[in-house]
Symmetry: C2
Subunit: 209 residues, 2 copies
């Protein structure tokens, strides 16, 4: 199977130095990439800036902004059998990027933020036979909001986790299908969860293909 | 000599997940810490979140926000003979930090940003006999703005560098004194620059003490 995986955060710049981001470490997406290669799949990893070496055998596409991630994903979508969107993209960006470095004046600065392109919704909207697995990081009403996200973005599966997942080596996730049924619960190291999720994806595609 | 060194970026949160930061890697401050320990100095390293192991022999004080960095520096200031402020702190922060995760609505979001505490100015304002070395990262008119910064923050020396320094292994800096004279120019790896700067600081303190 050819799997397109996204990982890490993206960055959205206010000026040439300051940016908006999040503490996503990329560990989940990199663990998924490694597990997928180990299981014999072909992996394209579209990754925001992280401090992890790319797993052996993946095709790495490094990106910085959400728009770059979207373009890299769409360019690799048709060649993929499945997509796992584990990246934590910046979903807002400053409406204006100041050239150089914003100077301090002592006064408050008002920054207008607009939504970035929705990478997962673009993938879901264009998918043909690809099996699309999204990730939802929710602080509250996680299951309900995860399911809303699955539907809004036309995913096949959604992996729901909480803020404790960020930058952690461990995770505690629920995998939900489009019929709102819980398919599995995984708890433990991101490596173990990645192996289980890739195995489940492989079984599913085998039985449905 | 007991040297207090700051390194890395700080983070200022919009909500529990999103933050404002910069790409400072901490390499300059960590290289300075290592060079200082190698030269026989006692080092306290106040560091924002970076992906570097603390150099052997330093006392590491990890911080996340600018306020935490300020408090850690002031707590360690009186015990220091010199301060080298190599951190690239966030100088703006959202006026309000939203609890949980800001939900997307489709509409633009206006974020009011206020200045954070000025760590270097606080150090400069409270210094007694400490020799204070600041860093200025300037996109344009670097020398002039660096000198303004030296004066505004009551530093003894200022190291002026450009945006190319961010996250790079190399740097190209000018060291300027309070009399506006160029003391030295260093170009090369951050490790080499760190060694030269620490040596110069050691000589200076010996001749003036």
């Amino acid at each position: 199977m050819r799997i397109l995986i996204t990982a890490g955060p993206t960055r959205e710049y206010l000026d040439d130095v300051r940016y908006l981001s999040n503490a996503s470490s990329g560990k989940m997406g990199y663990a998924l990439s490694e597990a997928a290669v180990d299981a014999g799949h072909s992996v394209t990893l579209v990754s925001g800036p992280v401090d992890l070496p790319p797993p052996k055998g993946v095709t790495l596409v490094p990106v910085e902004t959400t728009e770059e991630m979207k373009l890299a994903c769409l360019a690799n979508l048709t060649a993929a059998d499945a997509v796992i969107a584990a990246a934590a993209v910046c979903d807002y960006k400053p409406a204006v990027r100041v050239s150089g470095k914003l100077k301090k004046t002592g006064a408050p600065v008002t920054v207008e933020m607009i939504e970035t392109d929705d990478v997962l919704a673009e993938i879901g909207g264009r998918k043909q036979s690809q099996w699309v697995v999204g990730f939802a990081l929710e602080a509250e009403n996680a299951r309900e909001r995860g399911l809303q996200k699955l539907r809004a973005k036309n995913c096949n599966w959604i992996v729901v986790n909480g803020p404790a997942a960020i930058a952690s080596d461990d995770n505690d996730v629920e995998l939900i299908g489009a019929d709102a049924q819980t398919i599995a619960r995984f708890r433990g190291s991101k490596r173990d969860i990645a192996r289980d999720l890739i195995a489940l994806l492989g079984e599913h595609r085998q039985s449905s293909g």
